[in-house]
Amino acid sequence: MSIPPPSPGRDPVTATTGTEPFSWVRPSPWLRGYLVRNFPLRKLLPDREPAYVSSVLYTMGVLTLAALIVTILSGTVIALGGVSFWHTNTFGAFMNSIHFWGVQAMFLFMAVHFITTFFTMSWRGGRGWTWITGVLAFIVSILTAFTGFLMMTNWDSQWIGQQAKDAFNAIGIGAVWNVMNAGQQFTLHVVVTVAVLLFIVSAHIGLIRRRGVAPPPGAEALEVPDAPAQPSVSASNRG
């Protein structure tokens, strides 16, 4: 069996119970308690998992994350050389190819992950935000890939931008997001959308680690919430 949850009370490392009240002027005790309560290390770094997770379908999430890491690493190398050096540099072209196939792999794994989690109803058991962050990650991934295709500085990116502008303009977004502006797409791609994506993916993974994956339908009773922490009278006085 897994490591038993700690008994209610003060965490020996952080000296928190998880019931610290929020304070605008001294939020640290609350945040420490929140993190201890929601993301204990036994959940963040587990060495056991439910037996039903033993399926190739359950590797799609980690493979998606792995493809994201490969894509970011290869993209970082390309970024070091500049926005267009890969057109004429053999090494740059190879890194661009890894970047390209990393994106393809990521979306392939993500699509299977998406379909699998839908048909296993992975939102059950209080996992609604896990589902929402997953869909948000999918959508922001599309925007990230889209801006990447728009900043390739070749005919391909010219064409995609010229075609995509119509939908953007029709719904009004085009007034501030000009998909034919290669410079804007570059900064969006390497800074904004990737940062948003990493934030959402981090939240998604954190939620998964906190709750674990949803049990098979009908086996929900085998998933037992940890005992609620006992409010401490002196919690607000500890720092």
């Binding site: 890491i69 990393g102 609604g128 010229q162 098979p216 009908g218």
Partner: protein, 380 residues
């Protein structure tokens, strides 16, 4: 093991955010699994990159000259390979007859051009909030200004032609409406010249357009000056330049190129045109943005009348918000949609080992009164 049953959770708001699985477990290690996954995917991508590379094909179409990898479309390429198309497009830019001239917001104030849905024009609403953010006067920005700046100072005939043309009227203010770009007199010259350029007797080189004599005013001199700066590449420099800074904004050139026909010819030859599922494709047989299948597919739906629907882009955009964003986002809470996994119980196959090991080959029926999904709530 007794068949587990679903117990409605009491006091959900007070439930501890961490739950522990009490059923059968197996050993694994998160760090090990993640490391192996990254290594495996990296090897997979390196293998694919080695075998197939990635698309960076340049400009290709039947009869096109060899194109180096990554070549972008330019006015120089356009004029070199289809001077007739460039010359005729430039005339339409002066006349206000191009797609860009009649586009409306955010490029110009052409009325009635923005797309609508039940009387709402999102592009006009954005214009009222942000203003005309990308003003383009096709006559001035695409033809008269570059010719005036790049040729007129060194060619008195061109300077005279530009002066004569401007004296005939027309609105050269940024973002002017298409119907204001040319005066009646200018429109007469331009229509006559456009007709002559389109006639079978017209002859073109990258720096000349030869037509029979006619009432064209100064237009032929201006258009041939436009051809000259397109041919020597300075028009591309003009589009890429800026009055004060270096720029990475390629909007001006892209809009001008998109008004021609060679632009679409290249796209069709490479399989990326709108009726070929457009932006979800990549060059030739490479996978592209396959994940845009829903967006690209909506442009093919007969009910939307793709060929005759003036509001098609807005319709597709709204449908994408509905089906591409809201539907998947809230699928667990949409009645019917959240029952699909019950109607198509693939989970019985996915969890077959679990159900077999628990001694119950038929998974328990779901509690009929218990919704599959609970509303999302912040962690307690």
């Amino acid at each position: 093991m007794a068949t587990p049953t679903h117990e409605p959770t009491k006091a959900r708001a007070k439930r501890h955010p961490v739950a522990t699985w009490q059923g059968p477990e197996r050993r694994f290690d998160l760090i090990t699994e993640g490391t192996v996954a990254v290594a495996a995917v990296a090897l997979l991508c390196i293998l694919a990159a080695s075998l197939w590379g990635s698309p960076d094909g340049g400009l290709t179409y039947p009869g096109a000259p060899a194109s180096p990898p990554g070549q972008a479309f330019s006015a120089r390429y356009w004029d070199t390979n289809d001077p007739s198309d460039l010359a005729q497009t430039a005339v339409q830019e002066l006349l206000g007859g191009s797609k860009t001239a009649g586009y409306g917001p955010p490029f110009n104030t052409t009325s009635g051009a923005s797309q609508e849905f039940i009387g709402i024009h999102p592009a006009d609403i954005a214009k009222s909030i942000f203003g005309l953010t990308l003003p383009i006067n096709t006559a001035d920005d695409f033809v008269l200004a570059p010719v005036s700046r790049l040729v007129a100072p060194f060619d008195s005939a061109v300077a005279l032609a530009v002066r004569q043309y401007k004296q005939a009227g027309g609105d050269l203010s940024p973002g002017a409406s298409a119907d204001q770009l040319a005066s009646a007199r200018q429109a007469t010259w331009l229509n006559n010249y456009a007709k002559a350029l389109g006639a079978s007797g017209a002859r073109f080189t990258p720096i000349t357009a030869t037509v029979p004599p006619g009432d064209y005013g100064p237009v032929p001199v201006i258009i041939q000056a436009e051809q000259r700066i397109a041919s020597n590449g300075s028009l591309d420099g003009y589009f890429q330049g800026s009055d004060q800074q270096l720029t990475t904004d390629t909007t001006m050139g892209t809009m001008f190129f998109g008004d021609g026909t060679l632009w679409g010819t290249v796209a069709t030859a490479q399989g990326v045109a709108g009726d070929q599922w457009g932006v979800m494709n990549e060059l030739w047989d490479y996978p592209g943005q396959v994940w845009l299948w829903l967006y690209a597919g909506m442009y093919q739906i007969p009910a939307l009348n793709p060929s005759g629907n003036a509001n098609l882009d807005l319709d597709v955009g709204l449908l994408m918000i509905l089906f591409g964003f809201l539907l998947p986002m809230f699928a667990p809470w949409i009645p019917g949609v959240n029952r699909i996994p019950r109607w198509i119980p693939l989970y019985k196959i996915i969890y077959r080992d679990h159900y077999r090991s628990t001694g119950d080959r038929r998974p328990p029926a779901h509690a009929p009164n218990k919704p599959d999904a609970e509303p999302p709530s912040h962690a307690t």
